[in-house]
C-alpha cells in the first residue's frame, strides 16, 4: 500500500507529524505546562522518518540528491535542521528546543508543499553524474539546516535574555534553558555550520576552478558572502568580540541571509541541468 505513495505524499505525512509536535507543544504551553519532551521528540522523529523516505523517493526519481528546485531545497533544509535536532536534542534535553524545531520543520515543510510553483519544474540529474558536485550541494544545504537550528537556539537565547533583563521569569519563560547552555549550543552549531559550508565550498571550488563559467556570479557571490559572514561571526565569538545578544541577532541574520541566498542558487542553474529538467503539469 505504501509503495504507491508519491514523494509529496510522504512529505505531507512528515509535515503532519511536525505540525502534531507543534500542536502538542502549543497546547501544553497554553495550559501553562511544560511541553512533553518525549512526545514532541517522537512526533519529530516520525516526521523525520517520513521526510527521509519522501526525499529518498524524490532523489531516486531525479537521479541524485533532491536539490533541483526551491521546494526540494526547503525540504532538504528542514530535514537537515531536524537531523541536527535529533542529535543535539537528546544531549540538550530541552523540550522547548524540540517545540521550536517542530515549528521550523512544519514551517519549511508545509510552506514548500503549499506553493505548487516551487515544485513546478522538477530537474533531474542536475549534478551531471559528478558525485563531488552532489556532495558540495548536499553539504551546503545541510549547513543551511544547521543555521536553521542555530537560528532557533538564538531565538531562545534572546527570549531568555529578555526574560532575565526584564525580570519576567514566570509562565513559559520558566521552561527556557539557561542562558549559558543556549550560548554554548549556539557556538557549537555555528562552528558545525561553518565547517560544513567550508567543506562544501572547498569541493565546489575544485570543480569551479576548472571552468569558472559553470557557476553564475550571483550564486558565487551569495554563497561566498554567507560563508564569509558565518566564518567572521564564529571568529568574533570565539575571540570574545561578538557576544550575548549581538551574537544571537547575528546568528538570526545569518539564517535569513542563507535563506535569501537560496534564491541566487536556484536562479543560476547550470544550463545543461535546466535543459534536462522536466516541466510538470500544474
Amino acid at each position: 500500500m505504501f509503495a504507491d505513495l508519491s514523494d509529496r505524499q510522504w512529505l505531507w505525512g512528515a509535515g503532519a507529524f511536525y505540525v502534531a509536535g507543534l500542536l502538542l507543544g502549543t497546547a501544553a504551553l497554553l495550559r501553562g505546562g511544560r511541553p512533553s519532551g518525549v512526545l514532541i521528540y517522537c512526533a519529530i522523529l516520525a516526521g523525520y522518518a517520513l521526510q527521509f523516505i519522501g526525499l529518498g523517493v524524490r532523489g531516486h526519481a531525479t537521479g541524485g540528491c533532491p536539490l533541483g528546485n526551491r521546494f526540494e531545497i526547503f525540504q532538504f533544509t528542514a530535514w537537515s535542521a531536524v537531523t541536527l535536532y535529533l542529535v543535539v536534542g537528546v544531549a540538550f534535553r530541552s523540550s522547548v528546543l524540540g517545540y521550536f524545531s517542530s515549528c521550523l520543520g512544519a514551517l519549511l515543510t508545509i510552506v514548500s508543499l503549499s506553493i505548487p510553483g516551487w515544485d513546478a519544474i522538477r530537474r533531474t540529474h542536475i549534478f551531471g553524474g559528478n558525485p563531488w558536485i552532489e556532495l558540495h550541494a548536499a553539504l551546503a544545504i545541510f549547513s543551511y539546516g544547521v543555521f536553521g537550528l542555530l537560528a532557533l537556539a538564538s531565538g531562545l537565547f534572546l527570549l531568555r535574555h529578555f526574560s532575565l533583563k526584564s525580570k519576567r521569569l514566570g509562565g513559559w519563560f520558566s521552561f527556557l534553558p539557561s542562558i549559558i547552555d543556549l550560548d554554548h549550543i549556539e557556538v557549537r552549531l555555528l562552528g558545525t555550520g561553518v565547517a560544513l559550508l567550508t567543506l562544501a565550498l572547498a569541493f565546489g571550488s575544485v570543480y569551479w576552478s576548472r571552468d569558472t563559467a559553470t557557476v553564475g556570479h550571483a550564486k558565487l557571490a551569495a554563497t561566498v558572502a554567507v560563508w564569509a559572514a558565518a566564518a567572521a561571526a564564529f571568529v568574533l565569538r570565539v575571540t570574545g568580540r561578538l557576544l550575548a545578544r549581538r551574537f544571537a541577532w547575528t546568528c538570526l541574520a545569518l539564517f535569513a541571509a542563507a535563506l535569501l541566498s537560496l534564491e541566487a542558487v536556484d536562479t543560476s542553474r547550470h544550463p545543461e541541468a535546466v535543459q534536462a529538467s522536466v516541466r510538470l503539469a500544474p
Binding site: 505546562g33 533583563k165 525580570k167 521569569l169 520558566s174 527556557l176 542562558i179 549559558i180 557576544l243 550575548a244
Partner: protein, 361 residues
C-alpha cells in the same frame, strides 16, 4: 462480614500555634508506635510527624479505634484530652484519603505547594511499612497519595517557581548558569539574609563559595559555617571577575560595588554572565550596572516580587488541584471499600491482629 474504618486524626499549623505543636511533638516515635500497636481494634496505622503537623492514619475495626488512638497519644504526651479535642481534626473514609492526598501535594502546607512534605509523607509511610503496621488499605491509600501528589505537581502550578527570596535567587542563577556546581559565588556581607541565600546556593550544588565582610572575624565565622572560603573585603573589586554570582547584603550606608568596577570586571570575562543579587538596604550595587552587557542585577524588591508572583500562581491553581485530588480520592475510595470489608482482612493481608470481627461503622 463487617466493614472496617479508615480515619485520620491530627493537629496542624492551621489549628495550633508553634507553642502547642512543640508540646505535641513526640519525644520517641518508637514508644508512640508501641503504644499504638497495643490499641485494641486498630488494624493498621501510620504516624506523620513534622514540625507543622502530627497525624495518625489508621484502619480500625470500628470507629472506637480512633478514640483509643487519640487517648493513647494524649496519655503519651501528657496532653489534656479536652484541649486536644478542641484543636484536632478527625476525618474518616473518603475524606481521610482526600486529606492525605492534599497533605502530600502540599495543599495543606504552611508554604503552599512546598515539596518537602511529600518526602516526609514517604518517610512516615516507609517507617510504618517497615514496622509492619500497614496493610492492604493503608498501602493502597499511601501509594495513591504519592501518585496524586506527583500528578498535581507535574500538571498544575502548585509547586511552580520558588516562594522564598533565597530560593528565587538560586533559581535565577540556574536560569543563567544551568548547573551550579561550576558557578563561583561570592557573598558580600555577613547578614542573616545573605547567609541564608548562601546556604540555599550550597544546598543546590554550588561548590565554590567565598564570604567577604567588613569585619573579618565575622566573615570567617560565617564562612566556616558554610564551608566557604574567605575573601578580604577590600579585594572585592579586584577579584570580582573571578565570580559568577555575587550576593550583596552588607549594612554599608553607600554603594559597595560601583558600576565602573563591575564594568572593569566584565572586560576581564566578557563571555561569562555575572549575576548580582543585591539584598541590602540601602542597596550595595550601583543600579547603572543593570545596563551592562551580560550583567543581570536583581534587588530585594525584584526577588520579593518574583516570589509573590510564584505564590499567586500557586494559589490560583488550588481549586484545580482540589478538583483533581477529589476525583482521585473518589476513585480510590470506590476501590478501597472492598478492602475494608472483613473478608479482605481475613485474607491475611492485615499485619497486626489478623482477622478481627468489626462492627459496622
Amino acid at each position: 462480614m463487617s466493614e472496617a474504618h479508615l480515619f485520620v486524626i491530627g493537629v496542624s499549623h492551621n489549628q495550633a500555634p508553634v507553642e502547642i505543636r512543640e508540646r505535641l511533638a513526640p519525644a520517641s516515635h518508637e514508644a508512640l508506635r508501641a503504644d499504638l500497636a497495643a490499641v485494641a481494634g486498630l488494624r493498621e496505622f501510620a504516624v506523620l510527624s513534622t514540625c507543622n503537623r502530627i497525624e495518625f492514619y489508621g484502619v480500625g475495626a470500628d470507629g472506637g479505634a480512633a478514640d483509643s488512638v487519640q487517648a493513647a497519644y494524649c496519655a503519651r504526651q501528657n496532653f489534656g484530652p479536652a484541649e486536644f479535642e478542641r484543636i484536632r481534626y478527625r476525618l474518616s473514609g473518603r475524606d481521610a484519603a482526600l486529606h492525605l492526598f492534599e497533605v502530600a501535594s502540599g495543599l495543606d502546607s504552611q508554604m503552599l505547594g512546598e515539596n518537602e512534605i511529600l518526602g516526609q509523607v514517604k518517610e512516615a509511610y516507609a517507617a510504618a511499612h517497615s514496622g509492619g503496621s500497614t496493610g492492604a488499605v493503608l498501602n493502597r491509600v499511601f501509594q495513591k497519595a504519592f501518585q496524586a501528589a506527583k500528578h498535581v505537581r507535574t500538571h498544575t502550578a502548585i509547586s511552580s517557581g520558588q516562594v522564598s527570596v533565597a530560593s528565587v535567587a538560586v533559581d535565577l542563577a540556574t536560569s543563567i548558569f544551568g548547573r551550579l556546581d561550576g558557578a563561583r559565588v561570592l557573598v558580600l556581607g555577613t547578614g542573616e539574609i545573605g547567609e541564608a541565600t548562601a546556604r540555599a546556593f550550597r544546598s543546590r550544588g554550588a561548590g565554590d563559595l567565598a564570604v567577604a565582610g567588613r569585619r573579618r572575624e565575622r566573615a570567617e565565622e560565617v564562612a566556616s559555617g558554610l564551608g566557604a572560603g574567605v575573601l578580604h573585603f577590600d579585594e572585592r573589586d579586584s577579584r570580582l571577575s573571578d565570580y559568577d554570582v555575587v550576593v550583596c547584603s552588607t549594612s554599608a550606608p553607600g554603594t559597595v560595588l560601583a558600576a565602573s568596577a563591575i564594568s572593569a570586571a566584565m572586560r576581564a570575562r566578557p563571555a561569562r554572565p555575572l549575576l548580582l543579587i543585591d539584598l541590602a538596604l540601602p542597596r550595595d550595587v550601583d543600579g547603572a550596572a543593570a545596563r551592562l552587557q551580560n550583567v543581570f542585577l536583581y534587588n530585594l524588591d525584584d526577588l520579593a516580587r518574583i516570589a509573590e508572583q510564584n505564590r499567586s500562581a500557586r494559589e490560583a491553581d488550588v481549586a484545580r488541584c482540589r478538583a483533581i485530588l477529589s476525583e482521585r480520592a473518589d476513585a480510590l475510595w470506590r476501590s478501597v471499600q472492598g478492602r475494608l470489608s472483613g473478608a479482605e482482612f481475613a485474607g491475611g493481608e492485615t499485619p497486626r491482629q489478623g482477622a478481627g470481627q468489626a462492627a459496622a461503622p
